[in-house]
Structure formats: C-alpha cells, structure tokens
Subunit: 319 residues, 2 copies
C-alpha cells in the first residue's frame, strides 16, 4: 500500500497498524466496543509531553485531562481510568503522592474512578492512562461526519497553552502576566459537558468532532481528510484570549501561529448544520470559525485579504 506523501510519522505508523491488525475500530480518538462502550489510551513521556520540572500536581491533572478529552471528542461520558506510571528511582513517596493527587483530582472532577493500573521503574517518568466510558445514547461524534455546508464551531480559545509552555521553558512559571496561559497549559479542561451538548443537540444525525490536542490546524486537517471535504476558516474568527495576544506580542510570537500550530489546547472542533451551530453559539460556550465546503484543502482567509492553505508539515507533534 502506498501512503500519501504528506502524512506525519504517527499517521504513517497508524496506517501500518491498520494493515497488520485489519481492525476497523482503529483510527479515531476512542474505539467503540460492543454495548456503546468507549475506550481510549494515551501516553505522556517526560521531555516529550511535559518538562521535567513541571509541578507534579499539574502533571497529574493534565495527564488525566488529556485522556478524558478523547472521550469528550466523541461525545461520551468517562467512567473508569487505569493509570500506568513508569517512575524514576529518585521519586520520593511525597512526590508520587503529589502526582497521584493531581490525577485523582482531575478524575473526580469529571466523575471518573481510577480503578487500576501499574507502577514500575523507569529512567524517564512515563504516564500512560486508559479511560473507559460510555458513548452518548443517540450518537457517536466522529471525525468523518463533516459535510459541505456545515459550519465549524470551537469551544474556548486557542494558543494559550503553547504560550504557557514557552513561559515554562524560560523558567517564568510565576509570571503574573502569564498566569492565564500557564493555567491553560498545566490544567486543561476536558470539554465533556460541551461535547454532550453537541450530541444532545444533533441527536442521531451526529456531527464531526475532535479535540484539538495537536493544534487547531491539525484538527481541521484530520476532519477534512476523514470527511473528504474542504474547510474554510476565517482567521479573525479563531478565538484567542486578549491575555494570550498581549503576551505573544511581548514574546515576539504570532498569536495566530500559536492558535493554529501551538497544540495542547484540548478544545473541541466540530462541524454541524448551520441552525444547530447557531444554537450552540447561543449557549455562550461555542464560536463559529468557518465552514465546510466541497474539496479537500483547509484554507485560512483573512479580512486583510490574504489566503493560505494549511498543511500538516507544521502541525504540533509529540516527537
């Protein structure tokens, strides 16, 4: 099988796995098992997904949150989690406790019970979590359900997490100007409630949805590819917090680039019929950023007159 040129390394390996396993359930944020059970698993590795010095309570929270976000991406409700930890010998019981309290705090906040896992020695801190949940009774939100004419909605705002990471890299974790971005990086909120709202509203019609873990651009590209559609986004409509914009200017970074390619915002990106998109926006938790069209490209247009094709050469990758 020849693969398209423009796949990331992860996407290529996933294609290889699909060939080996001949498994139809692989490829979205979660697998759906019989009984409308959802299951998803994600691994975080020191130095790749988090900096070595990150506060351990934050790290615990974030590790759980990104896994719950995969259940949110499909409109489901998490129930149980298993947590595997590869723990360097230098970790004290006190440090382990801080990490675990963060894991438990996030799980509890979203109604999820930690029911098992494994702890083992490792030269790097590794946290691998599996979340089990239930799909919405009416529909499963999948990447492949975008149709020409749909509007694109997003939750929250973009770019703040990447800026928080940039601050942490410079050792500026206590910077009061950066508090918003640091919090967005360290304590992401899985959009479970918002995802259920989408599923409640669309019912059995469904909607395309995913969580923007690797940046807004990646999410749009994944939906466009899975749904075989084009996506047109208004650059000015992408929500970026004023605090993010101000701090980006200070650091000499482009807020739009951060929003598109920065990653780790864990906001929802969904495509659904215009009247439903507008009703979602009335809740105050969603914003329309563009529309779905026939074709295959993801195009970003500005009121300033320019237009760009977004490709995944630049998307955020945990490598």
């Amino acid at each position: 099988v020849t693969l398209p040129e423009n796949l990331t390394r992860e996407q290529r390996l996933i294609e290889l796995i699909k060939q080996i396993t001949a498994e139809s359930l692989i490829g979205d944020d979660c697998a759906m098992l019989p009984g409308r059970r959802l299951v998803s698993s994600d691994m975080l590795v020191e130095g790749k997904h988090f900096l070595t010095g990150m506060a351990l309570g934050d790290l615990g929270w974030k590790s759980m949150a990104v896994n719950l976000s995969d259940i949110a991406a499909m409109g489901g409700t998490p129930e149980f989690a298993l947590v595997n930890i590869g723990l360097p010998a230098k970790f004290s019981s006190r440090e382990f406790r801080l990490l675990y309290l963060g894991l438990h705090e996030c799980a509890s906040a979203y109604g999820t019970r930690i029911v098992g896992g494994d702890i083992t020695g490792s030269d790097l801190l590794v946290i691998s979590i599996t979340v089990l949940g239930l799909a919405h009774p009416l529909c499963l939100l999948q990447r492949q359900d975008a149709h020409a004419g749909d509007l694109i909605v997003v939750t929250g705002d973009f770019g703040a997490s990447a800026l928080g990471l940039a601050l942490m890299r410079e050792g500026r974790c206590g910077d009061p100007e950066g508090a918003y971005c640091l919090a967005r990086h360290c304590r992401p909120q899985p959009r479970l409630k918002e995802a259920r709202l989408i599923a409640d509203l669309t019912g059995s019609c469904g909607a395309a949805c995913m969580d923007a873990s690797d940046g807004l651009a990646d999410a749009l590209l994944q939906i466009a590819a899975a749904s075989k559609v084009a996506i047109e986004v208004d650059a000015e409509a992408i929500p970026v917090e004023a605090k993010t914009k101000a701090l980006a200017v200070v650091l000499g970074l482009d807020p739009l680039e951060l929003a598109l390619y920065g990653g780790e915002d864990y906001e929802l990106v969904a495509c659904l019929k215009a009247p439903l998109a507008e009703r979602l926006c009335q809740t105050g938790s969603f914003k329309i950023i563009g529309k779905v069209a026939a074709g295959s490209r993801v195009i970003l247009s500005s009121l300033a007159g320019w237009q760009k094709t977004v490709d995944n050469k630049m998307t955020f990758q945990h490598w």
Copy 2:
C-alpha cells in the same frame, strides 16, 4: 496509616494510591467493572523489563502475553487490547512493523483484538498495554480466596525464564542448549485455558489464583497476605524442567532460587480444595506443590530435612 515494614516499593505506592482514591477495585491483577468486565493494564520499559537488543517480534509477543496473563490470573477471557508505544526516533518503520507483528500474533493467538492505542516519541522504548475482557460467568479468581486445608497447584514450570534472561545478558541468544529457557523468556504463554479450567471446576466456590509474574515466591506471599493464611511448599515438588536444571548447573546458578525468585514465568498459582486440585492434576496441566494452613508465613520444606521461611526481600522487582 502505618505500613508493614516488609512491603516492596510497588506495594507501598499501591497502598498510597488506595488511600488517595478510596477505591475498592484496586489491588488484584485486574479490576472488575459492572457487567463482569475485567480490565488490566501493564507497562514495559526498556532496560527494566526487557533488554535493548531483544528481538522485536519476541518483545511484541511478550508485552501482549504478560497483559493477557493478568486476565488469566482471574479466570477471565480477554477480548480487546489497547497498545501505547513510546518509540525512540531511531526506530525504522521496518522495526516498528516487527514489533507490532509480535503484538498482533500473540493477541490473535488468544482471541484478542487490538482496537486502539497511542504512538508517541520517547527516548526509551515503552510499551503500555490495556486488556479488556470478561470474567468467567461463575466466579472471579482472586488472591484472597485461599483457605486452610486447600492444596496449591501450579501450571507449567519455573525458573526457565530467568535463565533465558541470564543467557541473553551474556549475548548467548543462539545457544542451542538454552533454546528452551530462551523461548520461555521471550514467548511466555498466558495460561488462559488452564485458568478457565480452574474456574469451570470450582464454579461459584471460586479459588485463590494469581500469575507468577514476579516469581513463585512473590505469588505465594501475595496469596498468603491477601487470604491471611500460611502456605507450606515442598521444595522438591516445584516443577523445574530438566533443561533448566542442567543449564543452571552449567551457569553456576541454583535452580530452586531461580524458580522462587527468578520471575517472569507467568504460570498460574492457585489454591483450592483437595479433590478439585487432584482433578486438575489429572488433566496433565497442573501439579500440586504444597498446602495452605492457618497462620501467615510461607514456608519451604525439603525432603532433605531443611525448612526456610520465604520473604519478599528477595523477590523479583522490575525496578
């Protein structure tokens, strides 16, 4: 809460987790969720659980096998697996394919579908697998169900895996004399069929059972502690293959020490009423090695007249 002195680091951290989560499902090989669903998760880290140069097909097989073995330990049937891989940048697609073929081969051999997971960058190769399955309709085999008067049965034989590892450490992977021990180390067989046989036979009475992943001594100690019983084992009754004994002598190692403390045999250790234990032995897949008594110690006796108390200071730990 004050913890007993003689706990391993892993056991201490598990106690801490139980305090934080107040979760009753934590502590056995698997958690049982509503609907008699079993779930278990285990992580393997390069340099701790496997040598860097291990053949990748073997590593894939073994990683899956040790997870399926946790389902076997409780008498269940595996159905689905999620595989998370932290992959060093130097891995080629060809190497990844070999690893995944091993994972898939083992999963398929035991009727398990790989339905998802995560691949991410990591400086160390890390494989974290979650297996979902169903408990036996009549009973759940747990560590806590041993009673004074029960006999102790085991599957297979012990000590070969540790000897295989010793050979690999010396670079003797092609040693024809070591073929049996190397195969036992690289391609362990999860005892799913044998565990179901125990569950079929005991029915709703149940039996104590676990898989000896960290050595026979550790399994006996865990069962004794969970069931609040003493265990008396006949040293000469512990099955050790002639090939293992012969090779141990050549390498200057004690076969009994290897059997007790070597680890990674993934055989079942079960305690059940004498008539049932004897019926299991008639199948040819089980051997009686001792009996359960009142008390709390694990005692090893030899026909040669000596007697030892087994403690977990010496048990195999993946640290």
